[in-house]
């Protein structure tokens, strides 16, 4: 009887110990295409390599990552990891995984440029807070079939916004296409052409200045293009507040000639357009100051509040591996953030020729983006600038305020937001 009790006790203790060692990591993941599905496949390998650690992927809408997650994190709650885009804004909640990775120097070499976007604790911050699994670049797509039907040549690399817009307008008129040009309703997309028109966004000390001559010049042009019907008015004027709105559906159904969006649409276009028409991504048009889009992307990050920091660190280290990234990127048809893979190139096995060409165009454009674009992307309060831009420029488009009033409000909104974020 005594030995039975002893055995039961040992069994119970062993069970309790194994449960203590086991860790279930919750990973909140949003996807533009199949990113979370691709990670779910890789998790099987990670779990096999790390017995006792399981990863539960919760696929959530992007809105939940943008609006719900920050509130959860601010109250000390939330998942162990998440796939996020607001790298600077959420950096204060992120876990520094450098103590848990095998080779921090190798990670630095592979991801150094994007790691900087989450280092918001000053120049001495050498922490590793994120592993980017999708580098993005904003830029335009055009419906080449419509250009061919209209007999209009695609403007060459280095063409200005005015030249592109004139060409798209001509195509729309000749082919009776409802929309000539559209741009996603977000301050992120607005920033690329604004910098091309000369917007500096930051002063010499790195403080945001938002509205300057360059910003004003593009804002004026953009409002005019929306009001004269060149740009699809529905996209910006059709929504309120800072609500995101894209025009992907219009591009996919062939009712839009030129669409200023970003590289994350490639997989969707490849899948949904198929061979309905020919589409191409083209280099960022030029303004008087530059020919730039905005870099961006999504990264997987761990959070400080996790009860399993070591496991989170190991998981991110696993996700950063070259072969793992390559496998995921081949499926998701995204541009690698890993600089070694950028140099080597990804074998996008299932990508169509159009998709491969678009990926190449965006990857090449990215290398030529303005340094201001990278600074803007890495600025921790860039969302304050983006929200104010969308809200106020829309007011100018619909006539609720003059452009001057809107620009003055943008300045005031950004100042207030920065004061609150101090």
């Amino acid at each position: 009887m005594k030995s039975r009790i002893l055995l039961s006790g040992i069994a119970f203790a062993a069970l309790a110990a194994s449960q203590a060692a086991a860790a279930e990591l919750r990973f909140s993941c949003y996807q533009d295409g199949v990113e979370c599905d691709a990670w779910a496949e890789q998790m099987k390998t990670f779990e096999a390599e790390n017995p006792g650690t399981t990863v539960k992927i919760d696929v959530v809408p992007y809105k939940s990552i943008v609006e719900g997650l920050p509130v959860q994190l601010a109250s000390g709650e939330g998942p162990d990891l998440a796939r996020v885009t607001d790298l600077g804004g959420l950096a204060k909640y992120m876990l520094d995984i450098s103590p848990y990775v095998k080779d921090a120097a190798a990670l630095e070499a592979s991801y150094g440029r994007t790691l900087a976007w989450t280092r918001v604790n000053g120049p001495d911050d050498k922490g590793i807070y994120s592993i980017m699994d999708q580098q993005t670049a904003t830029g335009p797509y055009v419906n080449k079939t419509l250009f061919d039907q209209a007999g209009v040549a695609l403007p060459a690399k280095g063409a200005t916004y005015e030249q592109w817009v004139a060409a798209a307008k001509e195509v729309a008129e000749k082919t009776k296409t409802p929309y000539a040009v559209a741009m996603d309703r977000t301050g992120h997309r607005f920033a690329g052409p604004a910098i091309s028109y000369g917007a500096k966004y930051f002063d010499a000390e790195g403080n945001p200045i938002t509205v300057d001559d360059g910003y004003r010049a593009f804002a004026k042009q953009f409002v005019e293009w929306n009001n004269d019907g060149t740009f699809a008015r529905d996209v910006w004027a059709g929504s309120g507040g800072a609500t995101y709105q894209d025009a992907a559906k219009e591009f996919i159904n062939g009712s839009l000639v030129m669409y200023i969006s970003g590289s994350w649409q490639i997989g969707r276009f490849g899948r949904d357009i198929g061979d309905a028409f020919d589409w191409v991504a083209v280099p960022a048009p030029c303004g008087p100051a530059a020919c730039t889009g905005i870099p961006g992307g999504a990264a997987v990050v761990g959070f400080k509040h996790t009860k399993s920091p070591e496991e989170v660190g190991k998981l991110l280290d696993f996700m950063a591996r070259e072969e793992v990234q390559a496998a995921v990127l081949a499926k998701t048809k995204n541009i690698p953030a890993n600089q070694v893979l950028q140099a080597k190139g990804i074998d996008y096995v299932n990508a169509s020729d159009a998709e491969k060409a678009a990926l190449r165009t965006f990857a090449e454009s990215l290398a030529e983006f303005s340094p201001i674009a990278f600074q803007f992307q890495g600025y921790k309060n860039n969302r304050a600038i983006m929200n104010a831009t969308v809200t106020r420029i829309t007011q100018a488009i619909v006539g609720e305020s003059t452009l001057d009033e809107a620009l003055a409000r943008i300045d005031a909104d950004v100042k207030e937001a920065l004061a609150a974020a101090k």
Binding site: G241, N381, Q395, E400
Partner: protein, 330 residues
């Protein structure tokens, strides 16, 4: 056998309650017959305090603090600054002259929406109730038809109408088919406002129609018979009998629809997102966006705006209570 089946649960329940008899008697002895009521009310009071009073109090504290931090310990006290910034205006009729112009646009839109939507809603609900109260063919079917939209989720309602109203939607396809010009319904400010009023009336009218129908059916038939014997005209019957006897129900309908209109959010948020610009932005969406959607999140301003809105709702609720009381007193 049947009797045993019926009485067994009863006995079980009685026995269960019997267990409490002695402790309850002892408790009553301790507290006295008057105070024992508080003991019974206590669980409800605790829950109500935790989930209603505490959040209200927290909201009040947030309204007097600043910064984008969510933890109160990290938020500096700013007194009434948030209220002051919301109310800072050179001319309340011109939102552009206000420090928080979008808040005042939302206030204007909400006021306009409440007046127009509630007025039309009550009018159409009354007309529909009057028709459905008559002995018309397929009366039951039509009652169901008018009530059906109430059962739909607001998001579904908005998505259906968005599908109809978008630039290449069903409505424009129909107009194009008839050779008529099409309109970008949700991009033109005035049309967008018209459609949010229309859709919200369409979605909620059935509920108020039902209340008014019940009010109409509660009017005794013999009053109408007496009027008929006296040779009263239809208008006279309506204005001297139906309307006066329907007033208590009308007050309930008006107050309920007023409260609902001030709180409007879901359908409009999905249908127009508050746009174009801020043409259909109502107060609740302003609070939501200020507190949650924008970066950084201005919880203090959102809390202050919600307290101002709560004050309006409180007035409306007091009116409803007074109306209900005078109705009860006959």
């Amino acid at each position: 056998m049947l009797a045993t089946v019926k009485t067994a649960p009863y006995r079980l329940v009685s026995a269960a309650f019997g267990l409490f008899e002695r402790p309850m008697l002892a408790l009553q002895k301790m507290t006295g017959a008057q105070r024992i009521a508080w003991v019974f009310l206590l669980p409800n009071l605790v829950i109500f305090s935790l989930f209603t009073f505490l959040p209200i109090a927290l909201n009040g504290i947030y309204a007097t603090t600043g910064s984008d931090r969510i933890l109160l310990s990290e938020r500096p006290f700013v007194g009434l600054d948030n209220f002051a910034s919301l109310l800072a205006c050179q001319n309340y009729l011109q939102p552009n002259s206000c420090e928080r112009d979008i808040f005042w646009r939302a206030v204007h839109n909400t006021g306009y929406f409440v007046v127009v939507q509630v007025g039309l809603m009550v009018l159409f609900s009354l007309l529909t109730a009057l028709i459905l109260n008559r002995n018309i063919p397929l009366r039951g079917f039509f009652r169901g038809v008018f009530f059906y939209p109430v059962l739909l989720s607001p998001v579904v309602v908005a998505l259906i109408w968005k599908w109809i109203l978008q630039r290449f939607g069903v409505l424009n396809a129909g107009l194009e088919g008839l050779g008529m010009p099409t309109v970008n319904w949700l991009v033109e400010a005035d049309w967008a406002f018209f459609w949010i009023v229309f859709v919200s009336i369409w979605a909620h009218m059935g509920f108020y129609t039902l209340i008014l129908l019940a009010g109409l059916q509660a009017i005794p038939g013999d009053v109408y018979e007496a009027a008929e014997m006296d040779g009263a005209s239809r208008w006279r019957v309506f204005s001297r009998i139906t309307m006066p006897l329907l007033v208590p129900t009308m007050v309930v309908v008006i107050v309920l629809s007023l409260i609902r209109a001030v709180q409007a959010f879901d359908e409009i948020f999905v249908l127009t997102g508050g746009g174009p610009g801020s043409a259909t932005l109502l107060l609740l969406q302003y609070i939501y966006e200020t507190g949650f959607a924008f970066r950084p999140q201005l919880f203090g301003v959102a809390a202050a705006a919600s307290m101002l809105m709560a004050a309006v709702l409180l007035v409306l609720t007091l009116i409803q209570l007074r109306a209900a009381r005078s109705q009860a007193e006959g």
